[in-house]
Symmetry: C2
Subunit: 414 residues, 2 copies
């Protein structure tokens, strides 16, 4: 009877993870099975903030090799509202994306974008354009503390759109994410400022752990949702090794379907900090490093045991004209591309590189044509998706170190 | 020898037109053969102002059933410059569109957009966004006369982008259009204001006839271009029957490969005015009515002998949220669509209607998402392309009158 129950419970798990190959150290290649298909890991997750990967159709997302789309709970809650998305059949169906889906907890945006409303923090002005601001671009200082009011039960914050007041609790985040209906959802967490003190980081982390427990309970209490959606806990702890390790231990002991790693890191040694966490987290569950998309960070994260990454940078910087090539980034608004009839990257297999010249793309950018954003996003996403796919293959083929050295030397022109 | 030369000359003609079925009166269904494929007429021509149909890939243009793309000479001359487009292999190759192509003469924009620079004419402010302004939206009054300086040889005008001075002559328009490389190009014409006097209209029309002759001579003098590109003369004459008829007679006697019908008409009876012209133009050559896209005008133009139409309205109004349905136009920003989980038009076979709900499209518009413009443009273009295709079939099947009555009654809710 007891065994049978365990088997049933296991069989009911909406997501499962299988390690296919381990590297020396923490890195691994695996397969993450979701109700909407298998994600081969490591995998780069495409961000579709408001149930749309900006400027792309779902067919274009599929064609560029993306396996999974992550939408932002905070944004969809505010617009069009999670109940409309629920009535549409979940955000995947709403946007006509049939593959695996994720939503984040809303925590990051509550603290970063809530802080932005009415403030004059430089980079946060971008949020008025209606898009998530990546973790590595935020410099909220302690403004968040003033505009997002945190108490033990949850957080009260202001909409980045109109300043209206809203409240998220772990239970509310679960309810909203159940309505949004993604295959993988995240426990509600507090995302602290990198400038916060050690004492505050510890206090916030401990609150995040209590919120994680409440998120898990609220998730499992909704049996229908728990059968269809996997819940990932979010490790916090800032830049402090002892806090990161404690967070991994506490959350690792809870029965999450996987783990997110959130918050800020020392950019010069992200891999090491991620390693502190992944050495402790259960090995048999997938790990998602939130908000990372710079090539060198992807290598550092993979070899330290991360399986999934998401970042708005490839689409956002792409729309501004910054494109990845194997020799580093180039900006298409540079005059030298106006008569350059070669592709963005001669070795790239994306739709953009197969069909268009730098001269044409430069023309589209100079003319502020919408197609510029589409072609640039396809290329940049394909570049990162393809890079992570190559990293995956190199793990399986035991050629990871060679790939890492050759790619990084060429990309960063060392 | 003489016969052989005539045959060679005919065989060398880059475009040919065959009437497949005639209606009572002037209307007809036909097939227009170009170096890049056959256009079944009547056909709605998709506008790709700057060598891009705004927000769409060429695959999306093909998928929605568009047969031909028209780019604007004035815009491509200013940006990126016709020599870059020539070096790219022509505007079709530049934008990765392999089907038939057209460029206009540049005349309409020289007079309408040249007039816009530095002026405060209401609707013309739109041009700073870098797109052609449709003929029926222009209210240039006599501003054009001040900013576009016309002489017998040509016209000096200011760039709508930076106010820099430029000059077009018939010979220069041909040179630029040869560089742009479209299958069908237009003779350089003067596009007068609807407010201009009869005397000025007549004077301008006679100048347009002299420019037409010079355009034809300049075109034929470039033997390589003349083998690949067909030249269409542009009938002018404003709203005056005698001028329109005279223009049709004079140009009809010149050896053009087809004809454009330009300038302004009385919107309430466009069909009649078009009929004056088409009753005189050679029957065996295609006729393109420039800048028309309202359903009732398409019917009026077809039954009065037009074969081709182009208009920016479906993409421009689409990007603003105005979408065609069989019951007339709707605006997706209207609150009533926020929870409407039906397609834009339940009978429409376009990609947008097959895959997305009004609620999703309303969400994209409210969120200012780029995909809104893409999905709206696909739908509106498909709506008009499909309507003209149905008109064509109805001509062949002798069911034109029934289609006209049922469509117009439903669309205009009569």
């Amino acid at each position: 009877m007891i065994l049978s129950n365990v088997l049933n419970y296991t069989a009911m798990k909406p997501i499962s993870f299988k390690i296919e190959k381990k590297m020396n150290g923490l890195g691994r290649a695996g397969a993450l099975t979701t109700p909407h298909g298998v994600i081969n890991t490591p995998a780069f997750v495409t961000v579709g903030t408001k149930a749309t990967v900006k400027a792309l159709t779902p067919e274009q997302i599929t064609d560029l090799g993306a396996q999974v789309v992550l939408a932002n709970t905070y944004h969809l809650y505010l617009e069009p509202g999670d109940e409309i998305v629920r009535d549409a059949g979940g955000f995947g169906k709403f946007m006509n994306w049939n593959g695996p889906t994720m939503t984040d907890s809303g925590g990051f945006q509550v603290f970063s974008l809530g802080a932005a409303f009415g403030s004059k923090v430089g980079k946060l002005s971008k949020v008025t354009q209606g898009e998530i601001v990546g973790g590595d671009e935020i410099e909220e200082g302690d403004v968040a503390g003033r505009l997002a009011k945190i108490d033990e039960d949850g957080v009260t914050f202001k909409s980045y759109k109109d300043g209206s007041e809203h409240r998220f609790t772990p239970e509310r985040s679960m309810e909203i994410q159940h309505n949004l209906g993604a295959d993988m959802i995240f426990a509600f967490d507090e995302c602290t400022s990198p400038a916060a003190s050690y004492i505050y980081q510890k206090e916030a982390m401990e609150r995040t752990h209590r919120w994680a427990k409440r998120s898990l309970e609220a998730h499992l209490a909704n049996k229908e949702a728990a059968m269809k959606q996997g819940l990932l806990g979010v490790v916090q702890g800032g830049r402090h090794q002892d806090l990161r390790e404690e967070s991994a231990r506490v959350l690792g002991a809870m029965d999450f379907d996987g783990y997110g790693i959130g918050g800020s890191f020392d950019k010069d040694d992200m891999g090491t900090a991620v390693g502190w966490v992944n050495a402790i987290l259960p090995e048999d569950k997938p790990r998602h490093l939130l908000g990372i998309g710079e090539p060198i960070d992807l290598f550092g994260a993979v070899e330290n045991g991360c399986d999934l990454f998401d970042c708005v940078a490839p689409t956002r910087t792409g729309r501004n004209g910054t494109l990845h090539t194997r020799d580093g980034k180039i900006n298409m608004r540079n005059a030298k591309f106006v008569r350059d009839f070669t592709p963005i990257d001669g070795e790239c297999d994306c739709y953009t590189c197969k069909n268009y010249t730098r001269a044409y793309i430069a023309h589209l950018f100079r003319s502020d044509e919408m197609l510029a954003g589409t072609l640039a996003s396809i290329h940049n996403l394909r570049f990162l998706v393809s890079l992570v796919d190559r990293i995956r293959k190199s793990i399986i083929d035991d050629t990871y170190e060679a790939l890492k050295i050759s790619f990084l030397n060429q990309y960063y022109n060392k």
